[in-house]
């Protein structure tokens, strides 16, 4: 049945395919999980793919979803068929325009991957919080429950909006539907053509705003008319349900797939009914079939058209026998009488009764349940629990299902053993290492089975929150019938572990059913594999009588020229032993797929892959085993000495068992302890840096550039070594100020990611063997025990007194990093700046962090990398939103300033009691340097002691606020997507105010977190998502704009090019009495090269002039100097020397070489022009008429070698 009408894809791709074909203009902005729809459309448009009417839709990327909403409003206003895609906070930003678009009855469809809203925490996952926040805007809301439906409803929405003139919000569950790969029937063009009424398009064009028959829209109306005019649209809403119904009927004629506004599923005489929307509906259907087959009478009412809510259609859809109803909402509306769908249903039942159209024989009990928030699992056991609750005489009026609410007792008990998946479905679970190709290979397997056999296929992929060394878990189902199981597999026939170390970390075989096949990629031979497994795993293998296979996929990959990619090999194993297809047929199909994928690239590549397939079969061995013999058990997720919360909560989350945690385990307001990352011990590095003390020149650059604070330096009195482990290394500290001290560089062997940046930057070489540096990578495993002990000892040595440290690169690394072991990518270009910030100011810093990579590695649970020093002080960190970060940080500043003011007022008022001279000293002390801060802390401590003796209310109030007498360092931090685009308006406003805030822009020149979409920081000629054809315009000069205010400290830095300048910029920014902004070059995986070369690329970026270094300090003008100092030399050499190392630039050479050359040429002249401009600025007002690095501008010494 290999028909072209079937395809395996996820809902994002399916919906984008429809929206693209039915649109002419598309405005976009990236947001998870909707970004892939925009990306697909961008790629199609760049490839000149035509829409239904033979023209190529044009896309425009906006600066925010608010911008998108404005743009699509304009596009529809002038009569072009328009669409967009969004989710969550993005959708919220569109709400103001949604009222306008609906108020003006502009036909338009927006496709939304329904996603959680940020409340106590951000979540990228799926629920209906966002769409429910739009139910009042006047948009029609159409919900899809599966990939197939998402595609079909997308088409229905586009057709219905044209006919009804009411704009449509089409939504489906984020991730569970948007990212679930399924086999669906695709929609051919002629179906779409027949579905859309061309007359309606004509009518739409005729309504377009045009000077050729002008009209005015958007008037301001007074009390006399607004109300009536607002009511004038009513009939359009009245007609919309019938229009949607007609469109669905037409769709059914064309495709055979009949949808309804409200679809009933289940027993014709059901006594209990669930009413719901989204992917949970199909799970309920699967459960209903099971329960009804066993004598129950249950049903489900699926709401497809949520707005306009049609009372008649609703009433007609319910069986008259219904006695109790559970309305399930995938959202939470705290403080409400019930969640939105529940409220609508209760109202509708009441109205139907009043209108005499209720079919029900009795007034039903209607209860309200919440489920599935942020993609929480919703499975048949939970559906059953709801029906069980409905059976009770007095069911809970409000309940939750899927969690254990041991605080308010709302949750329903769920029978975890309830399993209804039929034996005909083959279920497979794969544990892969992020980017090892496991997910891609599984998608490929789904394609092979889904598109080339009669089987149905489903794939869903779970990722963890780490950006390096992440685990991926693929859940694949294959079976003869439609798969409605939109939940994770719990009992698999086939379990594979593609990364050997995972056997120590995860309970992989908990997924295996008795008799299942277990495949392990391991370097161990078949006869040794079993004995090396931890005890628990051995017992599971024996107890469940698993068929256990091993392969050394890395070896096979190496031997067959596949490099480090094991995807083809592991896929071959799956087909060879899973039994999903006959072995020979499966292998033939893999080879066919290889030819299809690589055919164009030449016979050699195809043959190489074929060889890998054949070698795999030879290297795949079944493992014989007897009884469990191991004494070693899986290591605990966190150490026993970890704090209680970490053991009780974080530990379970790290073990992948967070679902088991009850409500009582959690803080009520999202507040989370810092300093928990250190307990994780990820052990992801195969090799770690080891210090050669004899070669070290003690420059500390290794520590400076480490993105994970996993290599550290310390000096200390020699007697600290009294109890040092035997292998602990130390040398004499080269310092006149600290005679007799020792010095050590120490790696954190379990926290290092193995990125090698420290080795790259190390300037010290063995003069007889320059290949040996003062830091060299060595295999982690043999060194682990010793280095773990060494690192613990290192940590136990007290840190030097920071108030006595100089402010230079070397000394900065003796300051304790208060940001450690984050989940950032190995070799991340951002985190060294964040770490430096915490080293310099962390004990007094409060950080407002824009959403993006830095908020994910900074605050995505399970662990938190910001930590505290020995005094318990450390960065206080918070992420509000993406767009508001500058304002958020400014607000913190304003609040702190006011509290400081109050504290000072109170102190002044209490001077008679506290001692006048003491208060004078307290209030007028200079508090800027480390020494001064330490002194002030002593004074505040003294103040508290004195306050304890003062029996006045003001004394108590001052005690609360005394901490504000030590200055707080407010940092506003985020990426370029925030600073240049979505948050720019706020950033600009903050820059204009001159308040004492420091802004750190971690500039990766794209939206890194969502997959490398273009921002206004993206350089000309770079290829990025949404700029497939290369960015045509120059990078925005944010620094120059900031300089234009004249009173802002501005620095542009690149740690890898000139670390001393970076350090100086941070110090000056903090010391500057007004607003400062530091724009920091941050290399990124989205640039397309191995990040261990990141520091070299930074140098090239600076040398080529692509990233000039400078500091603009308005204070210099008072001394008759130009505010701007250029810290890098004039552009040298060709820009291509820098750009050609990065795939983002090279891709354009590969796809459009002429355009690439043109843009390179233009970029080259732009940067020369820009340097000339800076050079002039650097001499402007300079009394000595010099300004460049080679002139009189303060030179920055000690740059990188």
């Amino acid at each position: 049945m290999s028909s072209k009408t079937f395809s395996t894809l996820d809902a994002n791709e399916a919906v984008a395919g429809v929206a693209y074909r039915l649109s002419e203009t598309i405005a976009i902005y990236p947001i998870t999980p909707s970004s892939p729809m925009a990306e697909s459309c961008d790629e199609w448009s760049a490839a000149n793919k035509k829409n239904l009417w033979g023209t190529v839709p044009r896309l425009i990327q906006m600066q925010s979803e608010g911008g998108v909403a404005g743009a699509v409003h304009g596009m529809t206003q002038v009569g072009s068929l328009t669409t967009t895609f969004t989710a969550s906070q993005g959708l919220l930003l569109m709400i103001p325009n949604m009222y306008k678009i609906a108020g003006e009855l502009l036909p338009f469809v927006m496709h939304v991957t329904a996603r959680t809203l940020a409340a106590h925490a951000l979540s990228i996952f799926g629920d209906h919080g966002d769409v429910m926040a739009c139910r009042q805007t006047g948009w029609a809301m159409l919900c899809s429950n599966s990939t197939q439906e998402a595609q079909d409803m997308a088409a229905i929405a586009h057709a219905a909006t044209l006919e009804s003139r009411v704009p449509f919000l089409h939504f489906f569950d984020g991730f569970r539907t948007s990212h679930e790969v399924d086999k669906i029937k695709t929609l051919p063009e002629d179906t779409l053509l027949k579905l859309v009424n061309e007359d309606c398009i004509t009518a739409f064009r005729n309504l377009a705003l045009t000077p050729d028959h002008p009209a005015i829209r958007g008037t301001a109306q007074n009390p006399d008319v607004y109300f009536q005019a607002r009511e004038a649209c009513n009939s359009f809403y009245d007609k919309t349900p019938e229009i949607v119904e007609r469109t669905m009927a037409r769709f059914a004629e064309l495709t055979g797939r009949q949808y309804k506004l409200f679809s009933y599923y289940g027993h014709a005489e059901a006594d209990r009914v669930i009413i719901a929307m989204g992917s949970g509906c199909e799970v309920a259907e699967e459960t209903i079939d099971y329960l009804n087959a066993r004598g129950e009478k249950v049903g489900l009412l699926k709401v497809h058209l949520f707005r306009p809510f049609s009372l008649r259609h609703f009433a007609e859809a319910l069986p008259k026998t219904v006695r109790s109803i559970a309305v399930l909402d995938r959202t939470k509306e705290p403080g409400s009488v019930g969640e939105p769908l529940y409220q609508d249903i209760v109202t509708a039942l009441s109205q139907a009764k009043s209108a005499g159209i209720s079919p029900l024989e009795v007034d039903p009990v209607v209860i309200s349940g919440r489920y599935g928030l942020a993609s929480k699992e919703f499975d048949p056991a939970m559906v059953k629990a709801v029906y069980e609750e409905l059976k009770r005489e007095r069911p809970k009026l409000k309940f939750t299902v899927g969690i254990n609410d041991d605080v308010t007792g709302l949750s329903l008990p769920v029978d975890a053993a309830f399993d209804i998946e039929p034996d005909s479905v083959v279920r497979s679970v794969f544990f892969g290492l992020g980017s090892d190709g496991t997910v891609g290979a599984n998608k490929n397997s789904i394609k092979i089975i889904g598109e080339e056999t009669d089987n149905q296929a489903q794939g869903y992929f779970v990722y963890d929150s780490k950006k390096s060394g992440a685990v991926t878990i693929s859940h694949l189902r294959f079976g003869p019938n439609k798969i409605k199981s939109h939940y994770l597999i719990k009992r698999a026939n086939f379990v594979a572990c593609h990364h050997f170390p995972f056997v120590e970390q995860y309970d992989i075989l908990s997924y295996a059913v008795p008799g299942a096949v277990f495949l392990l990629n391991t370097p161990l031979p078949a006869d040794k594999a079993f004995e090396w497994l931890p005890r628990e795993m051995q017992e599971q293998i024996v107890g469940k009588k698993l068929k256990f296979f091993v392969i050394d996929a890395i070896k096979v990959a190496h031997e067959t020229g596949m490099g480090g990619r094991i995807n083809t090999i592991m896929q071959t194993c799956f087909f060879a032993i899973s039994g999903v297809l006959p072995r020979e047929e499966a292998i033939a199909r893999i080879k066919k797929a290889i030819e299809k994928t690589y055919g164009r690239k030449g016979e050699a590549v195809v043959q190489k892959n074929f060889a890998a397939v054949d070698a795999t079969l030879a290297a795949l061995h079944e493992v014989p085993y007897g009884a469990a013999t191991a004494s070693r058990t899986r290591r605990a997720p966190v150490a026993d000495e970890a704090p209680d919360f970490v053991r009780r909560v974080t530990g379970l989350m790290l073990a992948g068992r967070g679902d088991e945690l009850p409500v009582s385990a959690f803080p009520v307001d999202g507040t989370w302890p810092t300093g928990t990352a250190k307990w994780e011990k990820r052990n992801i590095a195969q090799e770690v840096p080891i210090w050669e003390s004899d070669l070290c020149i003690q420059c500390n650059k290794c520590s400076l550039v480490c993105p994970h604070a996993a290599i550290r330096s310390k000096f200390y009195p020699a007697d600290s070594l009294a109890n040092a482990p035997a292998s602990f290394r130390s040398v004499n500290f080269r310092s006149n100020e600290n005679p007799g001290c020792k010095f050590t560089i120490q790696v954190a062997p379990e926290d290092c990611t193995g990125c090698t940046l420290c080795v790259q930057v190390c300037p010290a070489k063995d003069k007889t063997n320059p290949r040996r540096k003062a830091i060299n990578m060595q295999a982690q495993a043999p060194l682990l025990d010793a280095e773990r002990e060494n690192f613990n000892f290192f940590l136990s040595i007290p840190n030097p007194d920071r108030s006595k440290l100089k402010l230079d690169v070397k000394s900065s690394q003796f300051m304790e990093p208060l940001f450690e072991y984050s989940g950032a990518c190995a070799g991340c270009g951002e985190t060294p700046y964040v770490k430096l910030l915490t080293q310099l100011f962390g004990d007094r810093a409060i950080i407002a962090n824009a959403t993006g990579c830095s908020s994910i590695y900074g605050g995505n649970l399970p662990t938190t990398p910001y930590t505290v020093d020995a005094n318990g002080r450390g960065p206080a960190w918070s992420n509000s939103l993406f767009e508001d970060n500058a304002e958020y940080g400014l607000g913190m500043r304003c609040g702190i300033d006011k509290l400081t003011e109050i504290a000072r007022e109170l102190a002044a008022k209490l001077a008679p009691q506290l001692g006048d001279s003491f208060v004078q000293e307290l209030l007028h002390a200079k508090v800027q340097t480390e020494t001064e801060i330490a002194e002030q802390r002593k004074r505040v401590s003294e103040l508290r002691d004195r306050l304890a003796t003062v029996q006045l209310p003001e004394a108590k109030r001052l005690d609360q606020l005394a901490q504000y007498l030590v200055p707080k360092s407010v940092w506003i931090m985020g990426g370029d997507g925030w600073a240049y685009d979505i948050g720019y308006g706020g950033l600009d406003h903050v820059l204009s105010l001159g308040k004492k805030v420091n802004i750190l822009v971690l500039d990766t020149e794209c939206y890194s977190n969502t997959g490398g979409q273009m921002s206004k920081s993206t350089p000309m000629g770079a290829v990025a998502k949404f700029a497939v054809g290369g960015k045509e315009t120059a990078k925005k000069d944010l620094g120059l704009i900031a300089m234009s205010y004249g009173n802002v400290y501005v620095a542009r830095v690149a740690l890898g090019a000139k670390d001393a300048q970076t350090l100086k910029a941070f110090a000056e920014a903090e010391a500057f009495p007004g607003t400062s902004i530091i724009i920091a070059y941050s290399h990124c995986i989205a640039h397309g090269y191995a990040l261990h070369l990141g520091l070299e690329q930074q140098k090239l970026a600076v040398e080529s002039g692509s990233w000039p270094l400078y500091r603009f300090d308005p204070r210099r003008e008072e001394a008759g100097q130009a505010a701007l100092q250029i810290d890098s030399a004039a552009p040298k050499g060709q820009l291509s020397n820098y750009q050609s190392n990065e795939l983002r630039f090279r891709l354009l050479e590969k796809t459009a070489p002429d355009r690439a050359k043109e843009l390179l040429g233009e970029s080259q002249s732009n940067l020369t022009r820009r340097y000339d401009l800076y050079s002039q600025m650097a001499t402007f007002g300079n009394k000595d008429d010099k300004g460049t690095e080679n002139g009189a501008a303060t030179p920055v010494n000690g740059g990188n070698k």
């Binding site: 970004s35 992020g434 980017s435 990619r565 050699a604 590549v605 977190n1009 795939l1143």
Partner: protein
């Protein structure tokens, strides 16, 4: 005066052409070279690594971070179609052919037996009139013998020759034990011509940073001497087409190269320094010299100073070395 020359079986209007370099990457430069009198265009080398690895490297670079994050299935757009260097190269052949009327000689550079034949075939199909096979080998393996290296070169040549009909010239380095014998083996294996010599990148040492610095410097006229000697020796005993490549800067240098047996002379450094138009000067100086010395054709000039015809063959040999040293007195 008859400057016409037959090189690799191609009838050329004169014996001067640009050597393999990035110069012909621009069609503008190609036209300027033709206008300046170039008798053929030699393209830059397509390296073995480019057609054996580039697709895999690109594939790996794109695939490195795929499917590792819930927020991003990839971090760069993945083009469905992209031009690998060989694709670009083939396109460039066609474009040069369209732009000029002189023959186009493509160049493949490598040292192992592999998928060369396919690319040679594609180069032929793209319209190249001839092919340079640049046998760039640097032995770092102590187990490898000289004869193995020579044997492999002949195998590569045979594979390529079997797959194409266009003439194939082999470009050699000077570092072979017996260049005459090796040249004869190559001609016996099907070589239509020999190009003397390619120039290895000669890395420098950074004594401060203890690093090796890859550098590429333009040749100088002194390097011509090495070519002259070996042209004189080999052309006398192995009849085939010869190109002198490296060190020829002037018309007078060209005279010397042809006198020692070169069929054609390739210029790179002088044209990179002075621009394509400098070829006109070379041509003019060459003609002037011919006129002044009453040579009517290039054929008359060719080989007059080869090992076979020169008045003192010992000058090319070891004896000359002794004489030179003895004359070098302080």
């Amino acid at each position: 005066m008859n400057l016409s020359t037959t090189y690799l079986g191609l009838k050329l209007k004169n014996p001067f052409m640009p050597g393999a370099s990035p110069m012909p990457d621009s069609i503008g430069a190609v036209r300027r070279l033709e206008d300046a009198g170039a008798s053929a265009i030699v393209m830059h080398s397509l390296f073995e690594e480019q057609f054996t690895n580039e697709d895999r490297v690109l594939e790996d670079e794109i695939a490195t971070h795929l499917e590792s994050s819930p927020e991003a299935t990839s971090f760069l757009p993945i083009p469905t179609e992209f031009n690998l260097e060989p694709d670009e190269y083939l396109k460039q052949i066609s474009q040069i052919k369209e732009a000029v009327d002189i023959p186009v000689i493509a160049s493949l550079n490598g040292s192992t037996v592999g998928g060369w034949a396919r690319y040679a075939k594609e180069i032929e199909q793209a319209g190249a009139h001839a092919l340079e096979l640049n046998f760039y080998h640097l032995s770092t393996n102590v187990e490898e013998t000289g004869s193995e290296v020579e044997k492999r070169a002949c195998e590569i040549l045979k594979t390529v020759k079997e797959s194409v009909k266009i003439p194939v010239a082999v470009k050699l380095s000077p570092f072979f034990s017996s260049l005459p014998n090796f040249s004869r083996q190559l001609v016996a294996s099907g070589a239509d011509g020999i190009i003397l010599f390619n120039r290895f990148y000669q890395p420098d040492i950074d004594t401060e940073e203890l690093d090796v610095l890859p550098t590429l410097q333009l040749s100088n006229s002194f390097e011509l001497r090495l070519r002259l000697r070996w042209l004189a020796i080999i052309s006398a005993s192995v009849p085939t087409s010869y190109a002198c490549s490296g060190g020829a800067y002037t018309g007078h240098d060209a005279v010397k190269a042809i006198m020692t047996g070169a069929t054609v002379v390739q210029f790179v450094s002088s044209l990179l320094k002075n621009g394509p138009e400098y070829l006109t000067t070379i041509l003019r100086d060459f003609e002037k010299w011919m006129e002044e010395h009453e040579y009517n054709s290039v054929d008359e000039l060719r080989g007059c100073m080869s090992f076979k015809h020169c008045p003192d063959p010992l000058a090319y040999e070891r004896g000359n070395y002794l004489r030179m040293l003895q004359g070098w007195k302080v």
